[in-house]
């Protein structure tokens, strides 16, 4: 059962990758799609079993696959840990992945390497499943790197485009920084706990709450160090402020990839990691503080940037980043359930938005700039309606999925009653206004107003094929109902998490969130509505207004439009000095070190090698001679030693 939820994508990947050419595009699409669909179906069944099994008490389980490595105390198994948290993630991953697989069949219909693309998608899905079902940190790291590799392959899928290659490399390198932290975190965890097995670690967490570790002569609070290092990994993967620069660039990949990896699943791995490690984070209040602040800042900054971008996919990318910020500050205030809840709803509506955007781009003959769109809503009504659903869910309008999850996050932040919790609340409200604003902006610029595209493109605007629309509708359904259906189960009075999430009693903000003042609960709705109205005013009613505002708030706009100059700053602070440094070293290296070192050594080595092979004359008697001389030398050595030793 558990196997069927995890391994079909792997099978699909192997078949499509190895035999893609033999079985043809159709075969590869069929096998990969059926693989993930089976997995999705089975994980839904598992969802019911794991969460409602045992008369509603939940029936988490761990399936041991085999031992991976054993070296002294260091024992690691391959196992599938299917508990409540994992099964939720499995459902999200598999369902979104199925939708994306099917969608890709239509979207990539003009591409030459369909089999390869489908294979990579399946590989990604498998790696992600390994990540969420890991029962130790090393297996998690395996999945973590697996999704990294798959994402690298997929971002750079159109490898004839230089920008795609650059983006793929950037994503890989920036993630390396985070992964470095994660790896250190795993090492630190092993040092402190003596194991990387989740169960064992969680049991020990409370007893190690006061442990310290010495580092450079300083004593640090061990759990905080571990938590912060792990969070560093999470920041990289989940594009939190500081390590976020790769995410917008990653939009160079095909749109289904953006939907699957850079909206619904991979980027949420960081959120999952923190939630999974909740028993550790709970004992590290300072780490939680950092998580909250980083999350809140990300939510705010990403929203400001999102308002000014014109590339339709980049707008959604920044909104993803902003929503991830929400999830993180929810984690930071110990509202893990709320974070996972938002993760789930967000997966639905963000995948919907991305795929919808893909449908628009498809319709507009691969145009991504919103300034060249407009007025196409009558031509692609289905996409139009679905985009509205996604956007309203994103803006947190009542009864859409996003409303429930975003509200509970904001309420939980307020209910934390700490200065950073409240700060996060207000930043979150501000971000909510902006979110609604840019959602409206996206909709109005894309679908309404006068057509700004050339006539040729406009004539070709067409609704997407059913293979693309069906997944959109499924996701649309999710975006509509997921919030309402699961509110009670995830964050309400009948929470399903049991032991899979651990919250100290005094930190239970999800519970406290139900008892916050009335205005706190209603402010997010007001903020969302305000944003939508502003968007309508700016981009539909008074079309001249944006340019006026741009001029009036020129410094701010420039700052936002240039993404707070993160890329430029990194370029100036890290890349250029590193390059300059490199050049200096290179010059020294080439002239001084190489001359004496590698080049010299290489030259001498080759000379030495050539000399050695000169011995190889080809004459048998010389060979025999060498053998005999070697023999005599060894014998003489013993003679010498023994006679000396005895005499």
């Amino acid at each position: 059962m558990e196997y069927l939820a995890i391994f079909p994508p792997l099978v699909g990947f192997l078949m499509a990758f190895l035999f893609g050419r033999q079985m043809g595009d159709k075969g590869a699409q069929l096998i990969t799609c059926s693989g993930v669909i089976i997995a999705a179906f089975v994980s839904c069944v598992l969802f019911v079993q794991v969460i409602f099994g045992h008369d509603g008490h939940g029936d988490p389980r761990t399936v041991h696959l085999m031992q991976w490595m054993a070296s002294g105390d260091f024992k690691i198994n391959w196992a599938l840990r299917v508990d409540q948290l994992a099964v939720v993630m499995m459902c999200v991953v598999n369902i979104v992945s199925s939708c994306v697989h099917v969608y890709s069949v239509g979207y990539m219909s003009h591409d030459k390497c369909k089999a390869r693309f489908m294979a990579y998608l399946s590989l990604f899905t498998f790696a992600m499943l390994m990540l969420v079902t890991a029962d130790n940190l090393v297996q998690l790291f395996f999945g973590w790197e697996g999704v990294g590799v798959a994402s690298y392959l997929l971002i750079g899928f159109w490898n004839h485009k230089d920008s795609a290659n650059a983006a793929a490399i950037k994503a890989f390198v920036v993630n390396r920084v985070g992964d470095f932290g994660l790896a250190l975190g795993i090492f630190a965890a092993f040092v402190v706990f003596g194991t990387v097995q989740f169960d064992a670690m969680f049991e020990m967490a409370a007893s190690k709450a006061d442990a310290t570790m010495t580092f450079f002569g300083q004593d640090f609070h061990a759990i905080t160090v571990i938590a912060l290092l792990l969070f560093m990994g999470a920041m990289g993967k989940s594009a939190q402020l500081g390590l976020h620069t790769w995410l917008p660039d990653a939009m160079e990949g095909p749109t289904p990839v953006s939907a699957l990896i850079h909206a619904a699943t991979m980027v949420t791995a960081g959120v999952f990691l923190v939630a999974r490690m909740s028993p550790v984070f709970e004992y590290a209040p300072n780490a939680l503080l950092v998580v909250t602040l980083v999350g809140a800042a990300t939510a705010f900054v990403a929203a400001t940037i999102g308002m000014t971008q014109f590339d339709i996919k980049r707008v959604i990318a920044y909104s993803t980043m902003s929503q991830l910020g929400y999830m993180f500050f929810a984690l930071g205030v110990s509202a893990y359930g709320a974070a996972i809840f938002h993760l789930m709803t967000h997966a639905f509506f963000k995948a919907l938005l991305f795929l919808g955007a893909g449908s628009v781009i498809h319709a507009m003959s691969n145009e991504q700039d919103m300034r060249k769109m407009g007025g196409i809503w009558k031509k692609i009504p289905t996409t139009y309606v679905l985009m509205w659903i996604g956007s309203l869910a994103l803006a947190g309008m009542p009864f859409f999925a996003g409303y429930y999850s975003k509200d509970i996050i904001l309420e939980a932040a307020y209910a934390d009653h700490t200065w950073f919790g409240e700060l996060a609340y207000y930043l979150g409200i501000a971000a909510a206004v902006m979110t609604a604003f840019y959602s409206a902006r996206l909709l109005f610029m894309t679908f309404h107003g006068k057509p700004r595209a050339d006539k040729h493109t406009m004539d070709h605007v067409h609704e997407s094929p059913p293979t693309m629309l069906t997944p959109l509708m499924i996701l649309g359904t999710g975006a509509l109902f997921a919030g309402y259906l699961f509110y009670d189960k995830f964050v309400g009075h009948h929470q399903i998490w049991q032991d899979s999430i651990f919250v100290l009693p005094e930190n239970d903000t999800v519970e406290a969130a139900h008892h916050v003042p009335y205005w706190v609960k209603k402010l997010p709705i007001v903020a969302g509505a305000l944003g939508l109205v502003l968007g309508w005013v700016f981009y539909l009613k008074f079309v001249g207004l944006p340019s006026v505002f741009t001029k009036v708030f020129k410094p701010l706009h420039t700052l936002f439009y240039n993404k707070w100059y993160f890329d430029e700053i990194y370029n100036a602070v890290f890349v250029k000095p590193a390059a300059a440094f490199g050049r200096v070293f290179w010059a020294t290296d080439r002239n001084v070190v190489d001359g004496l070192g590698p080049d010299g050594v290489a030259k001498t080595s080759r000379g030495f090698g050539a000399m050695l092979s000169k011995f190889q004359t080809g004459y048998v008697f010389q060979y025999a001679f060498v053998m005999i001389i070697g023999l005599i030398a060894i014998i003489s050595w013993f003679f010498f030693k023994l006679t000396n030793g005895q005499g």
Binding site: Y619, F621, Q622, F625, I628, I629, I632, I635, S636, F639
Partner: protein, 204 residues
């Protein structure tokens, strides 16, 4: 006394003829000296009471191997003096190396010790002629019992050697005529003989 004399005689001839094998200018002479060496070595074996090995040495090495050598050397047209030219420059080096080895081996043998329990270790106790068994019989007794393993594997080695010889040298040349008795027997007159009546003066 007599055995001592015979030993030194045989041993001296073995050494001298062995040196002659490698120094003789004429390869045929070399082979002949080799045969002489074998004969004298066989004599040494007889002195040791190992008459079976002595006879094997004579029959196999002298009778077969050395004679084969002789054929090969006589049939192949190889200028041995040319071959030697290149090798001569290594003689000094060879002498030094050989000298060192010789010195070392002499040192080893002069200080030779036997393990205290060496005699007990011998798997097949030394066969005394007093028991009325010749060493041919003794070898026969252990060869197919205790040493059947080595014997059988030796058989495999010889088989491989045979396969090797055939693989590397045997070739089917086209146009070689062979006598096929069966074909000859099966021939009928009617197959090969046709009688034509020729009227005189017209030709065939």
């Amino acid at each position: 006394m007599l055995t001592g004399l015979a030993f030194y005689l045989f041993a001296a001839v073995v050494l001298v003829s062995a040196i002659a094998v490698i120094t003789a200018r004429n390869p045929v002479h070399s082979v002949l000296f080799l045969i002489l060496t074998f004969f004298n070595a066989a004599g040494l074996f007889i002195l040791l009471g190992a008459e079976f090995i002595a006879m094997i040495l004579v029959i196999v090495y002298v009778g077969a191997v050395a004679v084969l050598f002789l054929f090969v050397v006589m049939m192949l047209d190889i200028s041995f003096s040319d071959l030697r030219k290149g090798a001569m420059q290594y003689v000094p080096m060879g002498l030094i190396i050989g000298g060192i080895l010789l010195a070392e081996l002499i040192a080893v043998f002069s200080a030779w010790k036997f393990a205290p329990n060496a005699a007990d270790n011998i798997a097949v106790p030394f066969v005394q002629s007093a028991e009325g068994i010749t060493n041919t019989e003794a070898i026969g007794r252990v060869l197919y019992t205790d040493y059947v393993f080595a014997f059988q594997v030796s058989g495999l080695i010889l088989l491989v050697a045979m396969i090797g010889a055939i693989v590397l040298t045997h070739r089917t040349r086209p146009g070689v005529r062979k006598q096929k008795v069966a074909d000859q027997q099966a021939r009928k007159k009617s197959d090969v003989l046709e009688i034509k009546k020729v009227t005189s003066g017209t030709g065939v």
